[in-house]
């Protein structure tokens, strides 16, 4: 509850800061936000697009949140997504099998690719105590250059050197049923996978021995070790699952929302995952709602940019500011405490004052 209030205050402060920015560049913030929310939610197609935009963010947020529960900071979501997307694309372009089997293989390939990319930092952390922040950043750049050379080398597009061959509709997560239901939106099966992932991860964290052990390692690794838990194994396992989630995000991003993988770009969604996890207080359900909010901001700014001259980077700026406020939540909590104290102080003084009058 407390976390929810802090998160909501951080969101409000971020939106206010975004409004101030709009005023600074000479636009009307009310008009800007109206267009933003219209752009994200005005009709069923736009709602579909918003959900699709949120899908990779849900995975990226779950990935960061899950590792965080074990006290690990997986900052390498971008690289893991990229490798996950690459593996899924490679499978889609290499195998000619029936659609359900192909989709299953793509999902598995993406999951394993992402997991492998996070497994290495997990192993280095467990065996050599290498800080995972630095190692995952290094892994990001290794992923970047791997995609940079593998895609043009083996899966070159027909027209552009800088992206892979386009996947056909049957090779992606798109489904005619969803596209029709959302009136031409690019929403795809990724959102269902994301919801399933939220449920599974919530179950693992809250209801299983494994989840309990992972959290125990996160709270105090020495106490966990003393209690007989295998700390190193849990660290590696946590990174593995975290990477698998990010890899799935890559599958949803590159073979669901998009239909090709581009070189020379680390997906920003990996980074946003940190923001999503932080705002969602590292709980799967919180992550879900935070990702939807960011989805609204991202998909709405395109429309806003088209209607009035506000650069679409406003969304990133608002998200970044929300994160700063979420990171400094101590400040918000202090203010809340002071506010509560003052209120309870008044209640205590109130009756006394009345007594004095009578």
């Amino acid at each position: 509850m407390r976390h929810t209030i802090v998160s909501i205050i951080a969101i409000i402060l971020g939106l206010v800061a975004g409004g101030i920015l709009m005023v600074l560049i000479g636009s009307n913030p009310l008009e800007g936000y109206t267009y933003l929310f219209q752009g994200a939610l005005r009709n069923i197609e736009r709602i579909g697009n918003t959900l699709a935009t949120a899908t990779p963010l849900i995975f990226a947020g779950l990935s960061v949140a899950f590792a965080f529960r074990t006290g690990l900071f997986n900052i390498g979501g971008s690289g893991q997504m990229l490798i996950g997307g690459l593996c899924a694309t490679a499978v889609a372009l290499s195998f000619d099998v029936s659609r359900p089997i192909l989709i299953l293989m793509m999902v598995l390939a993406g999951l394993l690719g992402g997991a492998l990319w996070a497994f290495i930092p997990g192993l280095l952390k467990a065996k050599f105590n290498v800080h995972e922040v630095v190692s995952t950043i290094m892994m990001n750049w290794i992923a970047y250059w791997t995609v940079y050379y593998v895609v043009p080398g083996y899966f070159k597009g027909e027209f552009l050197e800088t992206e892979s061959r386009k996947l056909e509709e049957a090779q992606t997560l798109r489904s005619p049923f969803l596209t029709e239901m959302f009136q031409g939106s690019y929403i795809n099966m990724g959102i269902f996978f994301a919801i399933i992932a939220v449920i599974i991860i919530a179950f693992i964290i809250n209801k299983t021995t494994m989840g309990f052990e992972l959290k125990a390692v996160g709270f105090n690794r020495y106490a966990a070790e003393y209690a007989g838990m295998r700390v190193n194994r849990n660290i590696i396992l946590s990174m593995f699952i975290s990477g698998a989630l990010a890899g799935l995000g890559g599958v949803a991003l590159y073979t669901g929302n998009a239909s090709s993988i581009q070189i020379g770009i680390l997906p920003s969604q990996g980074y946003d995952g940190i923001a999503v996890a932080l705002l969602g207080a590292n709980t799967p359900v919180g992550v879900f709602f935070a990702a939807i909010l960011f989805g609204i901001l991202y998909s709405g700014t395109g429309f806003m940019n088209a209607m009035i001259e506000i650069p679409p980077e406003l969304a990133n700026t608002i998200i970044a500011i929300i994160i700063y406020f979420a990171a400094t939540s101590v400040l918000i909590e202090r203010l809340l405490n002071r506010f509560r104290k003052r209120r309870s102080g008044q209640e205590m003084n109130g009756p006394v004052g009345k007594k004095g009058v009578s």
Partner: protein, 317 residues
């Protein structure tokens, strides 16, 4: 082989210098006990500030060299101001330093492009001319050394090297430097000795902001010539160099030189026949893989500041 080294050398140095000054900034911050993962963002802010200053001043002022140095100054000032956000969060509010630093990165990446797009439309800011390389008289005619070190050098290179030596002196020989390091090792003891830990940590973070801003500006004003909204991960590479260099100024110099050369070799490999046989992907990922290996090797004997990353709690024992 020698000609290759001779050809690569100036480029490698130019690439090394922004990395060096940024890593040095990170060194001040981490040695005072504050992990600053926001170096990337601070570099971006510096790059943006210098690009915009130089972009406008070059239209009005005729003294081009002066304009460029004003651009560097602007980057330093903006870097310091922006680093205060990180200092405030991690020193006053005991926020998680990694999350705060990440927020700094995200704000810088988004805000600069937002503003740049508003100013120029495309989001890129071009400057007409940056620092130009020159030969140093007399010294450049020394055989071997002259060709390597004193031809086609930027004045800023010498300036940054000067800053490096002054920094090393400050850290090891002055009261401020020793106090700064003590705050990163055992802040409670430092406080008991009468040192204001918070103030020292503020100055550490602010120095990192100034240096990282400078690093970002140097990218624009020496080899890039245009602000495009990113410094392509150099801030993170600086962070890695800091660890690679084991938190010592000369170690950082060696580490950044390594990265400078590795990256330059990867960049020019396609035009040099001897290097063309190696697949480019190997050359590109080489620096990162070596960093990972180095981290493993150093893990047993790491000299990381002991209190870095921990919020200061004066009552903790």
């Amino acid at each position: 082989m020698w000609t290759i080294i001779e050809q690569i050398f100036p480029y490698a140095i130019v690439f090394t210098i922004p990395l060096l000054i940024t890593a040095l900034g990170g060194l001040f911050s981490e040695r005072s006990g504050i992990v600053n993962i926001g170096l990337e963002g601070l570099m971006i802010m510096g790059a943006f500030a210098s690009a915009i200053t130089v972009h406008y001043l070059q239209e009005t002022m005729s003294n081009h060299t002066l304009v460029l140095w004003i651009g560097l100054l602007a980057a330093v000032v903006i870097g310091i101001i922006f680093s205060l956000l990180h200092a405030f969060a991690s020193i006053n509010l005991s926020a998680d330093q990694i999350i705060s630093g990440t927020a700094i990165n995200m704000i810088a990446m988004a805000l600069t492009v937002f503003l740049a797009r508003n100013i120029t439309g495309s989001g890129n800011i071009r400057i007409t001319s940056g620092f130009s390389p020159m030969d140093i008289p007399v010294l450049s005619s020394i055989p071997v050394i002259g060709d390597l070190f004193f031809t086609k050098t930027y004045p800023t290179t010498w300036f940054i090297l000067l800053v490096l030596f002054i920094s090393a002196f400050i850290l090891n020989k002055t009261k401020f430097g020793l106090r700064l390091k003590s705050c990163g090792e055992f802040p409670q003891a430092a406080e008991a000795a009468g040192i204001n830990v918070r103030r020292i940590r503020y100055s550490g973070v602010m120095i990192s902001g100034a240096f990282a801003g400078l690093g970002g500006a140097l990218i624009i004003l020496t080899y890039a010539g245009e602000f495009t909204g990113s410094v392509s991960g150099l801030g993170f590479l600086a962070l890695a160099s800091l660890i690679f260099g084991q938190w010592r100024p000369m170690g950082v110099l060696a580490a950044t030189l390594f990265f400078g050369f590795a990256s330059t070799i990867a960049n020019v490999s396609q035009v040099i026949p001897e290097l063309k046989v190696i697949p480019p992907i190997i050359l590109k990922i080489f620096p990162y893989v070596v960093t990972l290996l180095a981290l493993v090797v150093f893990s047993k004997s790491s000299r990381a500041p002991k209190a870095a990353g921990e919020p200061f709690d004066s009552g903790k024992r």
